[in-house]
Amino acid sequence: MKNISYLVISVLFCINASASTGKVTELHSPAKENSSLSRLFTSAQGDVYLSWVESEEGKAQLFYSQLSDASWTKEKIIGSGDDWMLHWADFPSVLIDEQRVMAHYSQKSQAGKYSFDVKTVFSHDKGNNFSKAYTLNLEGVKGENGMVSLLPLEGGRSFATWLDSRTTAKEGGTGGMSLRGATFNSTGDIIKQWELDNRTCDCCSTDTAMTKQGPVVVYRDRSDTDIRDISIVRQVNGEWTAPVTIHNDGWQIKGCPMNGPAIDAKDNYVAVSWLTIKNDVPSINLKLSKNGGKTFGDLIEVVNGDINGRVDIEIIESGAVVVSWFASNPENTKLMLAKYSFSGKFIDKLVVAESKSLRRSGLPSITSHENQIYMSWTDIDTNKVKVAKITWDSAPSDIL
């Protein structure tokens, strides 16, 4: 076991023997043992945060910490429970905007059944005190609700999007999930909510980003014939557009793809990445938009073949786009990054970590500060969340 840890660490520092100009530096992690389910995010103020879950003897605790220079502030606890639903693709998230903290977690709603509610909590003193928990989905309807993505809005408001089971439950558990969105005021009350799509994939995460025109949401859609391609909905002038397929992959599957799309936006520059499978060959795709996600450019295939997907994406300050994913074959699993210019030109590719057990490490997360990328994942061998910083020697050439 130790050997594998050494392998990961040595890989962190030595793998860039190829032509990559990227440098990977492992940072001290604020998460303790038995930690997992981490997310990284950067606030509007440019501060980098990490959230994670520590679990022991059936009890889960949700923490967050802020990156300060090369170290982390003392962690703050958001909440805990022995009835949380924790799953590698559907787990708590935290959003911080100056003094305001909003977090979500899923709580089991029916003993012995696979049903859970999405709970949200709010703080106005940067996590020292939290509100009571609000239920995001329709209360009283037992089902699988989750895959939540959060976004801060102006004026202390927030936006959340999630997969909701209210129609699934009505159909006796055989129908599809719906995609919903809601805005909250600063005290956590729902101002307005919408059904954004009435039939989506059940088991793929959603993602959201803010464009100049308003929030956009990406998710894995589900047609009547179980085509599960990626769709986007956009809020324009306060109204939501109808779903638009980002690319006609035509992936038909009567099952769980377990791979949601990832989106990032800066002004009206939008980047979306996702996994699809054609003729049993998986690939990771990238599409770029310069008009807030209204239309996208040509398809860019980032990689195909031995991959597991589980993508994340960031547009860094220079305008370059960074995509992360798992590459996996029977012998090994690698945590990968690729960098593209916003015109779609490949810039760099590198390995962040490598070990056989990485395959079981859940969903890696990336965020950016200026032109640096931060990445977090669970190291299965040490049972602990790890964080690395990725920097590039040369200044990226493509400016927004």
């Binding site: 799953h87 088991c203 599957i253 769980c256 029977p330």
Partner: protein, 146 residues
């Protein structure tokens, strides 16, 4: 002396294998065709498949077929067995390590079901929800009589 040690070690390994992996404490057959199903509790189509796979296991376990399940989340064996029991799984569970020993590639999507020959060669990979009928038809298409 050395021979005795080997026998003790082999016995221990075999007992551990069964304890850790089997829902019904039956070893992986080397004489039967196998249906190996990767599943997870949170996967709705996986949950729908369970009664079908139970039925297949019940109807063909005395014949030339063994139905095996692998928990995708790679939970500890005791947790996997608890969940399997709660979900009404009646066929045998194996660990992801055993699945790797059968040369099964870890699936990207769920449910994924493999058909293996008696000597553990992958004959077919099936993606998505299966029924007893669909699996029997697959064996028929492959000219395999059970």
């Amino acid at each position: 002396m050395l021979k005795k040690c080997y026998i003790v070690l082999l016995g221990f390994a075999f007992a551990s294998l069964l304890q850790a992996s089997s829902h019904k404490n039956i070893p992986i057959s080397e004489e039967k065709w196998k249906v190996v199903n990767f599943w997870a509790e949170w996967c709705a189509p996986c949950r729908k498949e369970i009664p079908e796979l139970n039925q297949l296991a019940k109807n063909y376990s005395e014949k030339k077929l063994q139905v095996l399940g692998v928990n995708f989340d790679n939970l500890p064996s005791s947790e996997t067995l608890d969940i399997a029991t709660k979900m009404g799984v009646k066929f045998q569970m194996i660990t992801t390590v055993q699945a790797e020993q059968l040369n099964l590639s870890y699936p990207i999507v769920l449910p994924t079901t493999y058909i293996l020959s008696p000597d553990n060669k992958v004959i077919k990979k099936l993606i998505g929800e299966q029924t007893e009928q669909s699996l029997l038809e697959e064996f028929k298409r492959l000219n395999i009589s059970l």
